[in-house]
Symmetry: C2
Subunit: 293 residues, 2 copies
């Protein structure tokens, strides 16, 4: 197990870890005495999609560990078509890191993996942050065919990260400006880049969204068994996974604080990175059994 | 204008201020260089209903000013039957204090007064905190006839503050324990007590709720014109003014952060007073034009 760390995801070397199931590409940022924070990534996102303005401040006194799930980026294997399948690989990766307790940050699809992990192995997760995510059985999850999203995803002029400025941020000039700053930060990384996701990754992950979205009252109820302190975060204008899903998470998770940002969409954590990392650090650092920080 | 201040609402002397319309009972806690925070009170609440665990920490570096609206406690006059009428008195009180800029904390009914003030005189309010409140045209506002509330309000064994433990807090043992601590804190004040509200106060304020609750799409839309930074706070299990009203506030106010607490009802700010005052102070102290803190 490597111990190479660095202070920014703009420069952290990509490393590889052999699990029981696959070999995982990962990066480790920062370091310190606090419990490590493992980050679960969004739809088609790779190691290069983690905003250094989010990872780096959180890494000032803890390890922030980013990884590619099976079949994503430079990790081996195939992308599972269910969140449970992705969770099996996340657990495999964390077991290979010899982690027995950690905090998790799940963004969008990653927040679904975090919930599944909290259900399957609650002893592993100390505190959980779910950003722009949804409960199993949630509403209107990642319907990329919606006109509000399709017009950007089908725009051939939006190359590379540029489409994220459109779909992760609200339409207002202020949110779009924050989106421009976000993609500029992602572009700071010039070397040792990850492998961008192709259509096979997207198709498998979309299948997982459809399976996760199936109406399922029992799964909503199952959230009430997750006692771990949770911070639920969203932008009020999220078109990809509407904020109502964050409301449902906070209503069913018995120990969750909900924080919703104005004038922001799916990428509220990137838009308000200073506020988000301040709240996240305060939440993670609390030693209370209750979520409020 | 008096300048008597003290460090706790458990001991702050009740003072009186002559306005253009009425004479208002008020208290001033703390002091400091920061902008004063004016607090607008809940249904039938008087000066004695402000929890020192909320007022006092916020007063460590600012004046926290509590007052009775017209016809409430020891203020002269009649209780208006509309929020707009109450707002006229609140403005009268603030004008008599010679305030040209302040922050406001509105709890429940008080949050409606705060919204009305932000619409009528936006120049006066710098930042606004709305706790357990509702927009005009909101849902299920203060229907005390609901079984979940009526069973407590009609219980003759619940004297004085005791009913607040039942209706401001969730049913869980942890929330009820917090409710017990809350009413113990209110009971710390032994002298110079305010006049409890009678049925005439309750009836007028209920009339104001009914007027505020009338479906009114234009009023929801009017919230989009309130640009001032706002912090919206609620408990997820609020039976008096359901949390969906806080969702609507955060969705329509263009510059509002939403913070929702778990395992808590209408009185989430009292239950999580340490967290609430930390968040409120951070929010009030921010000098950004945007709400996120």
């Amino acid at each position: 197990m490597s111990v190479t760390t660095t202070d920014s995801n703009a420069t952290a070397p990509t490393q590889f870890l052999q699990g029981r199931l696959e070999t995982y590409a990962y990066r480790r940022v920062g370091g310190g005495i606090k419990r490590p924070l493992i980050c679960f990534q969004h739809f088609t996102g790779t190691l290069d999609n983690w905003d250094p303005a989010v990872t780096d401040p959180l890494a000032s006194d803890r390890d922030v560990i980013l990884f590619d799930g099976a079949g994503v980026g430079q990790s081996t294997g195939k992308v599972p078509t269910t969140v449970a399948g992705m969770t099996a690989h996340a657990l495999d990766f964390m077991d290979a890191l010899c982690l027995i307790s950690c905090d998790v940050l799940g963004f969008s699809l990653g927040g679904m993996v975090a919930q599944q992990m909290a259900l399957e192995r609650p002893s592993l997760v100390h505190r959980m942050i779910l950003v722009a995510s949804a409960p199993r059985g949630g509403d209107d999850i990642m319907h990329l065919e919606k006109p509000s999203l399709a017009k950007h995803l089908g725009d051939p002029t939006l190359k590379g990260f540029a489409v994220l400025q459109k779909i992760f941020f609200a339409a207002s000039p202020s949110s779009q400006a924050a989106g421009g700053a976000f993609i500029d930060r992602l572009a700071r990384r010039k070397e040792d880049l990850d492998t961008p996701s192709g259509t096979d990754v997207a198709a498998a992950q979309i299948a997982a969204f459809r399976e996760w979205e199936r109406p399922n009252a029992a799964s909503l109820a199952a959230l009430s068994g997750i006692q771990l302190p949770t911070l639920v975060v969203n932008g009020v204008h999220d078109e990809m996974i509407p904020v109502s899903n964050s409301y449902r998470l906070a209503e069913h998770l018995p120990n969750a604080v909900l924080l919703v940002y104005p004038d922001a969409g799916h990428g509220a954590l990137f838009q308000y990175h200073e506020s988000f990392t301040r709240h996240a650090a305060a939440f993670l650092t609390s030693d209370s059994q209750f979520a409020p920080y």
